[in-house]
Amino acid sequence: MHLLVCGGTGCRASESSLIVENLKRELEEKGLAGEVQVIMTGCFGFCEKGPVVKVMPDNTFYVQVKPEDAPVIVAGHVIKGRPVQRLLYVDPKSREHIADSKHMGFYRKQIRIALRNCGFINPENIDEYIARDGYAALGKCLSELKPSDVVDIVKKSGLRGRGGAGFPTGLKWEIASKNQADQKYVVCNADEGDPGAFMDRSVLEGDPHSVLEAMAICGYAIGASKGLIYIRAEYPLAIQRLKVAIGQAREYGLLGNNIFETDFSFDIEMRYGAGAFVCGEETALIHSMEGARGEPTNKPPFPAESGFMGKPSNVNNVETFASVPVIITKGWEWFSAIGTEKSKGTKVFALAGKINNVGLIEVPMGTTLREIIFEIGGGIKNGKKFKAVQTGGPSGGCLTEQHLDTPIDFDNLVAVGSMMGSGGMIVMDEDDCMVSIAKFFLEFTVEESCGKCAPCRIGNKRIHELLTHITKGNGTMADLDRLKNMCNVIKDTSLCGLGQTSPNPVLSTMANFMDEYVAHVTDKRCPAGSCRDLMKYSIILDKCVGCTACARGCPVNAITGERKGPHFIDQEKCIKCGACFEKCKFGAVLIN
């Protein structure tokens, strides 16, 4: 028998190490130490009800366990084999005690659809993909369904594009299928450019065949015989696994001429990008594939009319494709039963930033930010206070405490001033300065702007300059007005999605954290204490004992003072490196 005690940060903070000690001692006393082991584990992701103790092999799940509960668990459960009722999880709806963790609603918070095979099969073995019902969807399409049926299923499933804008996938397929041409193309957008998002890379590295199969299904549905995967050369492992997968699929005849001895032929080639954010925009992506500059053009014409080489092309994102085969095998009814009214299915999020369980999660649409950050994500690092979460990467906005209970879907996120984007989620704590965060994202957009249209090329640069100005303490209230004004102009007048969304981080931080902007310009103060130029170091004379440690540690000799006498910092010379603060053992250095 094993007793698993949660050793996640949250549970540790509520004395789970003491629970381990007590359990071990108790077992020792009863002479059971040899038979029952106590193990500390990683985070169960159920921090809200922590500390958590799980008994194996019977899967009994105890919540909110206290160190003094150890004797009861050992005497009651381990020796007599009777679960301790009062420590069991109580289902909030049915009010019943649930012993087996498999029946807890919490474990149904994550459902893996796009990631169904990631971390489960060997991505370089096509047989393992087939064993998990792989290529059965393609088989079903070719043998039982007409192309229009396939389009219909995808339409009815309610699947929307996972790359950012959330355009209905079925509708996109329908438009492409109706445009007549001698050649059409299926394009997979694997140009994952959001800093902080890595779900597409993970799908391609962990389950490349799911994308290949979906592209073939799409080809059948819209009448295309060629597929192209546009992937950034910065993803060498994903490229290698895709190549292996394409090779294996060709060998099995699942790509190539007359698949399953039908009239349908489909093959896939790879195209490499140099890793430019703007190439995630479908027209820019197509130009880049054609060998031209990666610059967007006006829509219409949409790629479905005139795309790659002027032919009708259907562009979908990796995660979107990865969801398609299951929709075909399990049916659109199954898929559309998951999620919210207008956003169906699940979404993968990449959790990053000041969160304990950095990683990839997949939850049904409609899950709240609170569930994602505080339950699945294990809460904020080092027990700090949650401040904001940036969804949608550099094109998204910062959401705050008040948005935590908003069910996440495409439309709700837009309504609160952010967006789904590709599903990057960067969590920030009390130490993050929101003006600096906005500046950081703008730095990225300025670098990534293709330069074709003036609002994006010049405007973002100016915004970035203004933000730098403010974080240096040189801003005025008039600058804030100018900033907002300029953001709105760029949003309204830019050519493509990059420029239309690039001011979002600024606008959303201004909407939610205006007080921080004001503190920077009027008080010349950074409330989070992160803008170096606004910091002032000084020595509290009462606390200074004259040990000279700070003066010796100062790299620019800005600190003067006699031994055993008070010390002073010359503000002119000080470079605000913080060395004196670290050196002082008496807490005499004050940061303002």
Binding site: L4, G42, G119, E128, A131
Partner: protein, 130 residues
């Protein structure tokens, strides 16, 4: 393996591979092998999954334990890389995180040999679809 001409060919491969995997997983028979999956996506490899995979291959062989070591994609626990999943015959799979050589050695000696769980377990917190 030649081309798959019909859906029956596809079904055959599915059944054969499923049977092979089942044998590994469920087999109480002597054929039941220990299955070790190493998460080898970019996150895992960057945190040192490759030498850990080599370690398992070499050491399980040296210590005479019948096992299949395979690579797999990202399990999602990027904060705890390298992560591995071990499935002993007839048992539920167990995921271990932060696996270095020391922990890998402990996993082989204690968990794989005797079924004793060791520190570093990552509780699985998602539902799989079948």
């Amino acid at each position: 393996m030649g081309k798959l001409k019909t859906l029956a060919d596809l079904k055959r491969i599915r059944e054969e591979t499923q049977a092979k995997l089942d044998l590994r997983i469920k087999g109480d028979s002597p054929e039941g092998l220990v299955q070790v999956k190493v998460a080898m996506a970019t996150c895992g490899i960057a945190s040192g999954a490759r030498p850990i995979m080599d370690f398992f291959i070499d050491e399980l062989d040296k210590r005479g334990i019948g096992a299949v070591v395979t690579q797999t994609g990202c399990m999602g626990y990027c904060y705890a890389e390298p992560t591995i999943e071990i499935q002993l015959p007839g048992k539920e799979p167990v995921v271990y995180g932060f696996v270095d050589r020391k922990r890998a050695d402990e996993i082989i000696e204690k968990y794989i040999k005797n079924g004793e769980l060791v520190e570093g377990i990552i509780p699985v917190n998602y539902e799989k679809i079948d």
